[in-house]
Subunit: 414 residues, 2 copies
């Protein structure tokens, strides 16, 4: 069973905007055992859209159209799909009534062009839209001798997602044979993708019944596992068996075994131990605090801290001795230690975490190049420091540095 997802809208063909609904729909379809084989983006042009609909109906079992269901003259999806299917549109009196009611409730006279939103392809079911005025459509049928499912959804994610969950999903579940699919996601921080792959490839290649996808956003490697089975248990066993072997190989490098983010895991550990953390950030400028506090409920363990971008604030907010700054420079092992210990004392937290480095693009020297970052964690007994030379530019250096600092908290708590 395969699918094609078609995103409609001229704005999706500009340099500024991108379809993201298809990621959501792909995840949902995959859970039903349906693979997405094609994604297409086309503008608000009737002929192009009709032609693309014909091509899709020829090569995919499930064809989902997103967008172009509004009331304006640019909204052509209904007409084009009907033309591709050689079916007529029929105005649905119930939808007409509900459109009038919708406008009446807002005390606005409905413009006549809104009536086209009540046009339904012959044989299709109109899908109610809880969040907007454009109904979706769902059609099952035989086209040129092949079973096809055709789905029309509104473009705005806030309308599309609930409509898919409430209206489309139950229909697909009834129609499609049951699929038993299990997934797992392991995450590894701060390991180069090539190194990670070299270690795990020999393992996952032995598990041919599990589909393994490796992604590598900045500072992280993600291993996505997916398996099918004759039952949900069997599918789950397959992914769990591979996940266990991968965890054995990668050991403590795996920070998350079910897809949680690094800040979530760190928060979970801190919360569990009843520990608190405070930060002193130089080159990250607030990024570490922002990530720690992005987790809901983080006020239980994140106290706050200081953004010590200037040297003066390293002294006044984190009690770094001026002599230390003068002797070793702000970007040094000694200052990182003093920052972590100073902020810990000042904030009366279990842990003090500090980051000081050179994010670039300026400020590098032969001795202290761009990308050089010191990270420290103090717990009142022993202060640990990690020195790293991160490659690449400002944003990435800062992200890597926050990743390293979070991972040091995690390892401290393990």
């Amino acid at each position: 069973m395969n699918a094609e997802i078609i995103a409609i809208g001229s704005e999706l063909l500009t340099p500024f905007r991108q379809d993201t609904n298809s990621l959501f729909l792909t995840a949902e379809l995959n859970k039903l055992g349906v693979d997405v084989d094609y994604k297409t983006v086309v503008g608000d042009d009737r002929n192009r859209l009709t032609s693309i609909a014909r091509i899709a109906l020829d090569r995919a079992d499930v064809v989902i159209f997103m967008g172009g269901l509004g009331p304006t003259e640019d909204d052509l999806t209904r007409e084009a799909v009907a033309a591709a299917l050689h079916l007529q549109l029929k105005r649905d009196p119930d939808i007409v009534a509900s459109l009038y009611a919708r406008f009446a409730a807002r005390k606005i006279k409905m413009p006549d062009n809104n009536l086209k939103q009540a046009d339904v392809i012959m044989g299709a079911t109109a899908l109610p839209n809880q969040k907007g005025s454009a109904p979706g459509q769902y059609l099952e049928g035989t086209i040129d001798g092949r079973e096809r499912i055709v789905i029309l959804l509104p473009g705005p994610p806030v309308e599309l997602k609930p409509m898919f969950k409430d209206e489309v999903l139950p229909r697909l579940q009834r129609k499609l044979p049951p699929a038993f699919i299990a997934t797992r996601e392991l995450r590894v921080a701060l390991m180069p993708e090539s190194e990670c792959d070299a270690r795990v490839a020999p393992i996952y290649k032995e598990h041919k019944d599990v589909e393994t996808t490796i992604l590598a956003p900045v500072g992280e490697v993600q291993l996505h596992l997916k398996a099918r089975g004759k039952s949900q248990e069997e599918a789950q066993e397959k992914v769990d068996a591979l996940a266990e072997e991968l965890e054995d190989e990668l050991g403590e490098n795996v920070f998350s075994s079910r897809g949680e983010s690094l800040e979530q895991i760190v928060g979970y550990f801190l919360d569990m131990r009843g520990s608190t953390v405070a930060v002193a950030e130089s080159c990250t400028g607030g990024l570490l605090g922002q990530r720690l506090s992005s987790v809901s409920g983080s006020s239980r363990y994140f106290l706050g801290g200081a953004i010590v971008y200037s040297n003066e604030l390293k002294r006044s907010l984190a009690d770094v001795p001026p002599l230390l700054l003068k002797e070793h420079g702000a970007v040094s092992r000694e200052v990182a230690i003093a920052l972590a210990e100073g902020i810990r004392k000042k904030c009366k937290s279990t842990f003090g975490v500090a980051v000081t480095g050179i994010a670039g693009p300026t400020g590098g020297t032969p001795e202290k190049p761009i990308g050089l970052v010191y990270h420290a964690i103090a717990d009142g007994k022993k202060t640990e420091v990690v020195k790293r030379n991160f490659p690449s530019e400002r944003d990435r250096v800062r992200w890597w540095a926050s990743q390293q600092a979070l991972d040091m908290i995690r390892r401290k708590l393990m």
Copy 2:
């Protein structure tokens, strides 16, 4: 002149990864006067890829394939495009030699499958790859009686972008008639999209020779203007004329008239005035500092500040009187003022900026609901406060709050 961009790779059909190269390519093609009419994503499947190549060659003048140029058996773009064009592949001895040299330099024996990277479609020019081993390809010719340009590029953005700029762009510039296109981007903070559109639509609809696209990421509205002319000057005059009228209508709400980000503009103003800023962040947890320090060179005006997530730190790091916290609560006009004034004094900055609010999803009360945020800016004379009730969830509330705080700095400096 129209184009189709085809992204190749099974990973682009998973829920995890998305083509982003096409945004870059669209911007570049638009500058040349080429519209992108279709975008397609297909997996590493030879038949599907060949069929998609045929469809694209039929409907687009310029067809760009991205990805599938590596050495593995999944890399099928060369073969599939050659098949769609009914052309043979020919192994290029120069590329073979450079592949061997590349591996020799790294003291690795080259696996034989790498040789297929030297296969060039008959009549195409191989494009050198400065950042990887896979050469691109460029082919101009007549296909079924129509002029076509076919381009093969590697998938990794770090390889694709320089190859496009260095190798493809000059060839397209020689081949295509000169296009005179000018663009402008105005940005407005904190105005609802519907309000902004209601004000500007009557204006831009009068300028039919300028294409206007409105985007609305969280907390911001962007007006993208684009015009063609018989000369560059004429195109520029068209967008500038509309931009001027839009700026007149929106006044001080326009924070950027050439696409700069809010943090860039704030940094520019601070730098120009020789002023400095320090922050005291509660609910934003470091986000405001992170945004201020994301601009290269920000150490000239951003000193740092305090992340005062806990009430205790509001006292110890920003000198908020305990009684004030007890009487009004942490989320209050009074505490926002005390934070701004306290951090200004503590950091000896020109301005002190504070944010305190309830980001959610928990912690809201009937009197102080989720989304309630106070923002304050102190300059030693008069402290201004803005109270906002932001809609929606945690991440958005935090982003809105940082946006509001940045905009208050901007207005103070105007």
